[in-house]
Subunit: 341 residues, 2 copies
DNA sequence: ATGAAAAATGCAAGCGCTTACATTGCTGCT
DNA sequence: AGCAGCAATGTAAGCGCTTGCATTTTTCAT
């Protein structure tokens, strides 16, 4: 498979322009270190030859790829789409390319992807959430690869993070729900093992329950993978109990939409018969019927900040400080007071 | 000795295992060409050193990346998510890695992404749709990089494709709509310039209209980017005419969900006051209220087939034959007969 | 045992680029 | 005119790996 046979190389360009390869390289990477006349000659050779630098060779020689790797739990729904889009746009402005892969929420896959991205020479890494085998960070540290965590801000974690306080955010929402009069609360959480965001959201709910004098038996919790169908199933289970909850807090919007859908199938009116809330405020939340009350996360801002932070770490060799972003509740139609008993 | 703080290389492993670098390389790439005892020794050195092959170096030496590049129009919604997922799973089985990037439906960005992927050494490329500057294919051909097109099957295009007949699929749906009695049809299409899929879907509608004796003035067409909000806007425009359509065919499910949403906001009942249909059958279509009548596309099958085809082209140096997949209408609640006038 | 074929391993030449250092060619000062 | 000093360009040493070919070791039929 010698497909490269026909691709022109630096040498070809140099020969055609009558200069050394060093000069061609400079034309491409430090144009101002070459005199105008030469540069023009070289660039026109590049043009007529249709030359494109060989990435692998460049990486080998320069020991730097200008590439950032990101591993997100899923690409199947829009949870990370908007933030990642902003991340990549900002990266692009600074001359970096983004490589994305997804871990399907599986730690072992995430680890494999990290290795792949590192082997491919990622100059820096964006990871989601803090929960992770510490050996991974040991290894990354040893290789001196800057890592930034997003979607979860923890002030004194080992790795700097750009994100929000999942616990406080969910606390606020749960508090609001209880304040409306709900006393039996259902929770449909994502799988919390290895997922600090899911865990912190649960804790936020528990904080609010405790603080408002609910018993732990008033809170019915279910964990399930983050998919619409699972939200629906969990909803059924929760509502088929003797004293079903009057409000159901979901770990994210996807789960909430599943719950919403099942509620309709079961002939339950939302929020009259049961309230349902989400988390993330992705587009789906606005579109759902009824529109979802949820926690708004500043996705684009988070992505942009993460990019700036990571680029800063890369170019100044600094440790990175992290940023905590604010979230807020968006009240739409899916949350109301409980029905009068 | 000074390697301690940076990534170990093949040399380090070789030294530690007391063999040559060639042997280490073979252990990693052709394990059976090395005797057991040696292999074990080498692998344990790999392990204790935490060695990971340097991708760029490997590519340079082997002239092959085992990487496939794919450029899809968007990652923001789920249109391509499922198919791409299947594509990558199948690729993985054959030892290939997938690199994805998105073009935002812009030809010039697609072109840039192609160059990037090629520079990065993609062994093969998956592209969406056939519309594309021919120079791009000239260049790819010259570099001998196999290309496969998906999401649109064209039997005698320059490049082999795995997909379905967009025109026929949309024809079938439009025919069904007209058969139900609709005479004034609205169409919310994606932007057709540079997008053969959008264009063929429009043509399918026109075929059906003509064949059923509708006048071209009975079909009101709007083009708009593929986003929910645009679907909503287009819906408003279409319905604010003197004689608004009784059925609206949307170029994809995303647009249709936008239309559905706006209908509700305007107090129109679907399908009693107006019918709305989609295309693609992504999860959103099932979840929407009312559930969307749409054209089912075998996303996973398409992704899988595309992977097999592309791997075949790569490994057998063949041209690729392409595959046409069948679609079918999924009737849910958003389509009904027109209201009695 | 013995030698030839087969299996295992080693040697070393690149792959296409960047970059430290060396060389050449100018500028403008005295 | 002569030369320091700098700008422009060239030279060549790798970067870490794979692989064709050479060499050594093992296997096995005799």
């Amino acid at each position: 498979m010698s497909k490269l046979r026909s691709a022109p190389t630096l040498d070809d360009v140099a020969r055609m322009a009558g200069v050394s390869t060093a000069t061609v390289s400079r034309c491409l990477n430090n144009p101002d270190r070459v005199v105008d006349a030469t540069r023009e000659r070289v660039l026109s050779a590049v043009d007529t030859l249709g030359y494109t630098p060989n990435f692998a060779a460049r990486v080998m020689a320069a020991k730097r790829t200008s590439t950032i790797g990101a591993i997100i739990p899923t690409m199947e729904n829009a949870i990370f789409a908007r933030g990642l889009q902003a991340f990549q746009e900002e990266l692009h402005k600074h001359g970096y390319t983004l490589l994305v892969s997804s871990s399907a929420y599986k730690p072992e896959i995430e680890e494999e992807q990290i290795r792949t991205l590192v082997a491919r020479g990622a100059d820096g890494l964006l990871l989601i959430g803090h929960d992770r085998d510490r050996k991974i960070h040991d290894d990354l540290e040893r290789r001196k690869i800057p890592v930034l965590v997003a979607w979860s801000f923890l002030p004194d974690a080992r790795v700097p993070s750009v994100g929000f306080d999942n616990r406080a955010a969910m606390f606020e929402l749960a508090h609001r729900v209880i304040e409306l009069g709900h006393r039996r609360i259902g929770v449909i959480s994502g799988v919390s093992a290895g997922n600090d965001r899911a865990r912190h959201r649960i804790e936020g709910i528990q904080d609010a329950a405790r603080q408002n004098g609910l018993l732990s038996s008033d809170v019915m919790m279910l964990e399930t993978p983050y998919e619409i169908e699972n939200g629906a199933e969990a909803f059924s289970k929760l509502m088929s109990q003797d004293a079903p909850p009057t409000a159901i807090l979901c770990g994210n919007d996807v789960l909430a939409v599943g719950a919403l859908h099942r509620a309709r199938e079961m002939g339950l009116r939302v929020p009259d018969d049961v309230s349902i809330t989400g988390f993330d405020d992705i587009e789906l939340a606005r579109i759902a019927t009824p529109a979802l009350t949820t926690v708004h996360v500043p996705h684009r801002e988070m992505g942009r900040r993460a990019a700036l932070e990571l680029v800063g770490m890369l170019e100044n060799q600094t440790q990175g400080t992290g940023t905590r972003l604010a979230t807020h509740i968006v009240e739409r139609q899916s949350l109301g007071p409980p029905a009068k008993a």
